[in-house]
Structures are given as C-alpha cells and as structure tokens.
C-alpha cells in the first residue's frame, strides 16, 4: 500500500476510510519515458492516473490544451465515457499512480460524492469549491492583524486642556476618542465623556479633560490578531482599545470599526463618499475602497458581488468628484463615462483611469482644458494611475462633442484601422456615471444602428477572440512554481476571449447591457447561446476573475503564500482552471462559427 498516496488530494478526499484503503491496495505506479503516449486518442483508458512527478501534455489533435503536474488526475472522460477526444503524453520522465479502471468505476458507483467530481458539470463543481472556501475564508478573517483595521489617529491632549478644545479637536480629526496625558498616566477621553460632563454634570466647557478621562485603558499591539481584539473588548467590557507599536501609541480601535471589518463596511464607505465635502475626504474614501476588496474577498464574498460593490463605490467616487470639479455647464451639458472593465462592472482591484466625456455641444476651450486637467490630477492623487492608452478625460480625443464621436464611429466602422475595433469595444462597454446619460445612450444607439448588417466589420471585430493562444505559460508557471506575471496570461488566455466573444455576440444582437454576466444571460434568452453552456461560461468567467483577483491581492500585499498564487493553486483549483479553459476553448469555437471566422 503506498501510504504516500495523498488521500486528501481532491477528489480522493471524498472517499470513506474503507474506500480509501480499497483504493490504496489497488494502486500501481507506472513510469513513462519522455514522449510516450499514456492515453491515445479515442482509446479507452484502462486506468485513472494521478501524477507523482513529471509533466503530462494534454493534446487535442495538434493543439496543446494543458500541462498537468503532480497531484493532477487524468482523464475522467476517457474513464467514464470510454474514450477521450484528447491524448496524453509524458513530457519528461514521469511517474503516475495507476488506479485500475474497475476500481475507479466501482468507487464512482459506490460513492456519489466522488462520482460527482467526474460527472457533474463544471458549474456545480465550482459551486462546491466556493462553499468549501467560505469556511476557510471566515477563519482567516479572525487571523487578520489589528494593523489592517481602520484605526483612529493617536492624538494627545494635556490633562489641563478644556472640554471645548477636546470637542473641536474631535470634530477636526473626525474621531470620537482622544488620548489624554496626565503626567505619567495616559487615558482616553471620549465624546460621550464630554457630553455627560456638560449635560448631566452641568460642568463648564472650560473644565479640564484630565478629570473626565478614563485611565484604565486596555491596549494591544498592531500586529496582534483581530480575534484577540474581540476577546479583549469582551473580557474588559470596552468599546475601544489603544493600539501600540512597541511602547508607542499608534491609534485607537473602535468597536464599530472592528465589527465593520468583520461584517464588511461597504455601506460606511459609500456614506463617506456621499458626505464628502472636499477632495481630501474623497481621497480617504478612495483608500477605503482599496481595502474593501481585500476584506470582502476574505469574507468569501463571491467575486461577481465584490466587483459589483467595488464598481459601485468607484462610480460614486467619480460621480462625486465630477460634481466637485466640473463647472455648471459641463454638469448638465456633458456625460461622464467609464469604460473598459469599469464600464462592465467587472473591476475588483483598482486599475487605470478609463474614462471619457461626451459633450452635448462645443465648450469653451479654457474651461474644458481646466476641467480635464483638474479631474485627471485629482484621480491620480487618489491612486488611479493614468491609462497607458491615454483613454482618459485628459485626452481631447476622449472628451469632445457627441457629433465628433458619431463621425468617428462611422469612420471606424466603414474604414477600420488598427485602433478602430478597440475604440468600438470601448464605447460599447461604456457606462454613464454623471451628467446627462442620454448622450451616451445616443452614441450607443448610433453604434448599434451602424453595425447592424455589417457582417465584414463584425467578423473582423470578433476575430480578436483568437488573438491569444491557450495560456501554456500559465501552466508552465504552475509547474515550475516560479509563477510571476501570471495575471496577464490569465487575462489573455481566459478572461479576454470570454469578454470579447460575449461583447461581439452582444453587439451583433444590439444588446444594451454592459456586464459580461448580463450579456450572457440575454444571449441565452435570445437563443444565441444554449442555456447549459451559458451557465458554464458564466461560472468559468467568475472563476477566472476570482483567480485573477487573488493574484492581484497577493501581488499588492507583496506576500507569497498568504493568498493564492497560481504557483500555489490547490490541485482542485488547477483542475477547475483546466475545465474553465476548456469552456473558453469551446466558446472560441462557437464565436468563430457564429461569425464564420473560418474564412480568414
């Protein structure tokens, strides 16, 4: 019995102890020489294989579909359906566990959960993963560090300062608690202490705060766990804790912020944006949006919901900034639009500034120029980097009258050049967030009218789905476990083909939805996509977005291993990634067929 066979590796973790023993007792190990065929095309598999070491190539005819590494299982189709359309080759010296066909099939018959892994459609598999993750992620929330929470600044008063001074200071720094230094002692005075003293105690507002402060403070370190903060508050019946770094006080943690962290506080941020009275307030809120993503992901919130929340917050932010910066004539006579992933509402981690302005009519040059500059600078100061393609309000090509856009649209469609397809895609995904939304609506109506029946243009437009090959690099990274820059590969090989294929089909049908998810639903309703396939496509898309989000979060934390990096994907995730990319491949074929891309 190879005790070394890892029974915790999905799907084998679903076996009962007895079944696991049966499996182990039946295992052999096979060695394959480089280039050797393990499963031939359309041959039935005599066994299910689990890789011990080496790399396996999965090919269909000539295409390399995937590279499998240690702990990957193959090939369930060959086993269950008696033949596989795919061939499997050893790329280098390879060892695999061999689970005899009969044993595997018997286990599949006996254990429905195990069988589900092989039979069920991808969307259900993905749902199961999501459920498993939820438990794990909630646990990790409690293991966050206090330093990750929102802390009120450590501002000190002298014991002799008055209630009046304290009150003003509290409003100034937007905090309800201040430190009070009374000789050697350090205490905390709160807004409630002040109110009670004045209202109930009838004390003068010139009273020194030293007498009101509470010197029995409970403190903890910045790098303590969130769970210990919760424990301390409960144990000492405190509403707030002093946070130290070494001996120094670095902040005050309020109960409400701790609970907000555990429960998610998108609504708090939203409120902060709506109430913002200065660009400074907005900058604070912008920083909070950034942390929201991480918290929401930790809580196991589904990626599509995160994208919705984050997109909503970003739009509020831009809209509020627009109101502050734009002169009156622009506020009514123009439409601020966001484009790209932001327009589709699929943005999770802050990306570039992708925005534009549609003017109802000509605007005086200086006024417009001043706005362009100011809006750009403000966003940049909030941490939105400039768009490398210069698709921003700052660029005159993306902030001009509707009539100019319409003229260009016509030119792009009749005489497409390099950028034409991209520009059409950008406008088609755009969403109005401030000003007069009718302007964008007019532009889109015109766009849809112009493309109707333009089969050659649509075919060229859709062709970009084949711009990038199956992301072999990603799998290589998985296997060499030195993966960097994987986000790009995921985007090119999986996310982009889905987004663009769906966009092409949607434009062909003249749909007005912007999110990929909603477009897929509508395409299913219209019968352009089959309902089953639509569901798989959505799930695959969400899974790819989630992987990308995890990669982005890990990269921005500068940490390895705390969050999933492709090099550290579990074999379940790798399995799902393979499945998701299969869906992408099939989808490319559907798009190719729809637009008759075969003629190119």
């Amino acid at each position: 019995m190879p005790k070394a066979f890892d029974i915790s590796n999905p799907p084998f973790d679903r076996l009962t102890p007895n079944e696991a023993e049966t499996l182990r007792a039946a295992l052999d190990i096979a060695y394959f020489s480089p280039g050797e065929a393990i499963i031939r095309r359309d041959a039935s598999a005599e066994a299910l294989y689990v890789v011990i070491k080496g790399i396996i190539e999965e090919r269909s005819e000539v295409d390399l579909l995937a590279l499998l590494g240690p702990k990957d299982t193959f090939d369930s189709r060959a086993l269950v359906h008696d033949h596989s359309g795919h061939q499997f080759f050893a790329r280098d010296e390879t060892l695999c566990y061999v689970i005899p066909r009969k044993v595997a099939l018997d286990l599949i018959k006996a254990n429905p959960r195990f069988a589900a892994f092989f039979y069920r459609e991808i969307s259900q598999k993905l749902d199961e993963l999501a459920n498993d993750e939820e438990a794990r992620r909630y646990g990790s929330l409690m293991h966050a560090k206090v330093g990750e929470l929102f802390l009120h600044p450590p501002v000190f008063l002298a014991a002799s300062d008055t209630i009046e001074t304290a009150g003003h200071l509290m409003r100034e720094i937007n905090s309800n608690a201040l430190f009070v230094r009374d000789g050697e002692r350090i205490g905390i005075v709160t807004g409630m202490n002040l109110s009670k003293a004045v209202v109930l105690g009838r004390q003068s507002i010139q009273t020194a705060v030293g007498t009101l402060a509470n010197y029995d403070i409970v403190s903890l370190q910045r790098d303590d766990f969130v769970s210990s903060a919760l424990l301390l508050m409960t144990k000492h019946n405190k509403r707030r804790l002093a946070v130290r770094e070494g001996e120094e006080f670095v902040g005050i943690l309020e109960e409400i912020d701790l609970l907000g962290f555990l429960a998610g506080s998108a609504q708090v941020t939203a409120g902060r944006i709506d109430r913002a009275s200065s660009r400074q307030d907005l900058a604070t809120a912008a920083r909070e949006i950034e942390t929201q993503t991480r918290v929401l992901r930790r809580q196991g919130v589904k990626v599509e919901v995160i994208a919705e929340i984050v997109s909503d917050l970003n739009r509020r932010l831009l809209s509020r900034l627009f109101d502050m910066v734009a002169p009156a004539e622009l506020r009514t006579g123009s439409c601020l639009i966001v484009m790209g992933s932001e327009g589709r509402g699929e943005q999770t981690v802050r990306t570039d500034q992708d925005n534009g302005l549609i003017l109802a009519g000509p605007v005086q040059g200086e006024v417009l120029e001043a706005f362009r500059h100011e809006f750009f600078v403000a966003l940049e100061s909030f941490g939105f980097p400039p768009c490398p393609g210069d698709i921003m309000v700052r660029n005159p090509a993306w902030s001009r009258p509707l009539s100019d856009y319409l003229a260009d649209l016509r030119r792009w469609i009749v005489l497409p050049d390099q950028a034409a397809h991209m520009n059409v895609a950008i406008i088609y995904d755009a969403q109005a967030i401030a000003g007069d939304p009718q302007l964008l609506d007019d532009a889109k109506t015109a766009l849809i009218d112009m493309t109707r029946g333009e089969q050659t243009f649509m075919a060229h437009f859709a062709r970009a789905v084949d711009a990038f090959e199956t992301p072999i690099g990603l799998f290589n990274n998985l296997i060499t476990s030195e993966g960097t820059g994987d986000a790009l590969d995921l985007k090119k090989g999986g996310i982009f083909p889905i987004v663009h294929g769906v966009r092409s089909l949607a434009l062909g049908q003249g749909l007005r939805e912007t999110s990929t998810d909603k477009r897929i639903s509508r395409l299913c309703d219209l019968g352009v996509l089959q309902a089953d396939f639509g569901r798989d496509l959505k799930q695959a898309f969400r899974f790819l977005l989630m992987l990308r989000l995890d990669g982005q979060l890990a990269a921005s934390a500068g940490a390895s291993g705390t969050l999933v990096r492709p090099a550290h994907l579990s074999s379940m995730e790798r399995h799902l990634l393979r499945d998701a990319l299969q869906v992408v491949k099939k989808f490319r074929e559907i798009v190719g067929h729809h637009f008759k891309l075969g003629m190119f």
Binding site: L27, D28, I29, Y31, K53
Partner: protein, 223 residues
C-alpha cells in the same frame, strides 16, 4: 569469497529443502523485485532485521498492489547485550519461529527474479543470515544495485578527482523523485523502485545525468 556463479551451483547442490528449487528457475521476462530491510543496526552479524518490504516490477510498472511487507517484532527482552552472550541458543529458540513465519512467503514472492536495492548486498546478507539455516542456501538471485546504475549515468564519464555523492537523497534529487517518509521499509523500497525504472530508461536512451560544474566545497557535516 567464492565467485557468485560458483556459489550458485554449490547452493543448488546443498539446497536442503527441495521445495525451494524454484529459486533457481528462469525469471519471468522483464520482472524484478525491489527489496529493502530495516535493521537494528549496520552489523550483519549482530544486528537484526525488523522489517522487510519487497515490490515487484514488471516492465515499467511498479506493482505496489502486489507487494510483500512484513514487520518482525524483535524480542524486547533480547537486548544487544543479551544477544552477545546468548547468541546461539536464543536465536535458535526464539528467532526461528519468527523467521519461519515470514521467510517462506518472502522467498515465494521473490522467486528467481533479480533483486534490486540500494546497497542491496547488505540487505541480502542480512536475509541470508536467516535463510541459510532454514533452506540451506543463500539467495541465488541476480543483484541490481541502483547506486551503481546511478554512478554510471552520472559519474561514468567523469574525470578523476570528481567528488562522488551516491547518497539516497542525492539520487532522489537528481531524478526529481518526491521523497516519501524514509526509513520505512516499504517507502524505501518504493523510492528505490522509482529510481530503478527511471535509471533503466535513462540507460536505454543513453541519457546522462548532468554533474554540477563547480565541485562542491567539502562539507564537514557530511550533509
């Protein structure tokens, strides 16, 4: 020391239990047995076998589903000191039944197949210590030494003064075999089997294992 071929003839003649004549038969084509013993120490005369594992290999398949595994409980009261004093009597009386239980099935499992091991001579010498009094022979099987196969692939063409590392860990590393828990007879035998199938394939294809260009500095800890 008699040459092994002559010894084999001699043992064929001295085989006391004729039911073990199959040991001298022809091995099935392309079949081997990997063997590993865990012992109480490294001295063949005074130390005991505490576990034996053997796995068949057929072609490129390691037949872990058909394996031989036995744990031999050494007599607790029989410490190292006691063995030295009561060597003959104790082993006659107390070790014999244990060996009887385990060895016949091991011998049937092995049959005439070549034996593969890592420093296989030691394991066989350990086993012969028990087998000789029982059956009247020592194991006549052909022996295949994986460290030798490894040496040929890696150091066969090495210039003189190349520092040679034939440690188990070094072989695992060069062949990229994931280390299983070591000093477990079955795991050791399994890793040895993995080494064998890969080294044999490398030999057949004439592929060499690259050596480090710069010779490593002497490491006094021996790691």
């Amino acid at each position: 020391m008699l040459p092994r071929a002559i010894k084999r003839l001699l043992h064929q003649a001295t085989l006391s239990d004729q039911s073990y004549r199959f040991m001298f038969g022809r091995a099935p084509d392309d079949e081997f047995v990997v063997i590993d013993c865990e012992t109480t120490g490294l001295n063949v005369r005074t130390d005991d076998v505490v576990a034996i594992a053997a796995i068949k290999i057929r072609g490129n398949r390691i037949l872990t589903s058909a394996r031989f595994e036995a744990i031999i409980h050494p007599d607790r009261e029989l410490g190292a000191e006691a063995i030295r004093i009561h060597h003959l009597r104790k082993s006659d009386v107390e070790a014999a039944p244990i060996v009887w239980k385990v060895l016949p099935s091991l011998l049937h499992f092995i049959g005439p197949r070549p034996l593969i091991g890592y420093y296989v001579d030691f394991d066989i010498a350990m086993l012969d210590k028990y087998i000789l009094p029982l059956v009247g022979i020592e194991l006549p099987n052909e022996r295949i030494e994986v460290s030798r196969l490894y040496y040929d692939r890696k150091y066969g063409d090495a210039p003189p003064n190349t520092s040679v590392d034939l440690s188990f860990a070094a072989i695992l590393r060069d062949l990229c075999i994931p280390p299983l828990g070591q000093h477990d007879a079955f795991n050791d035998a399994l890793m040895t089997a993995m080494m064998f199938v890969q080294l044999r394939d490398l030999t057949e294809r004439g592929v060499r294992i690259p050596r480090q260009r710069s010779s490593p500095v002497f490491n006094p800890t021996g790691a």
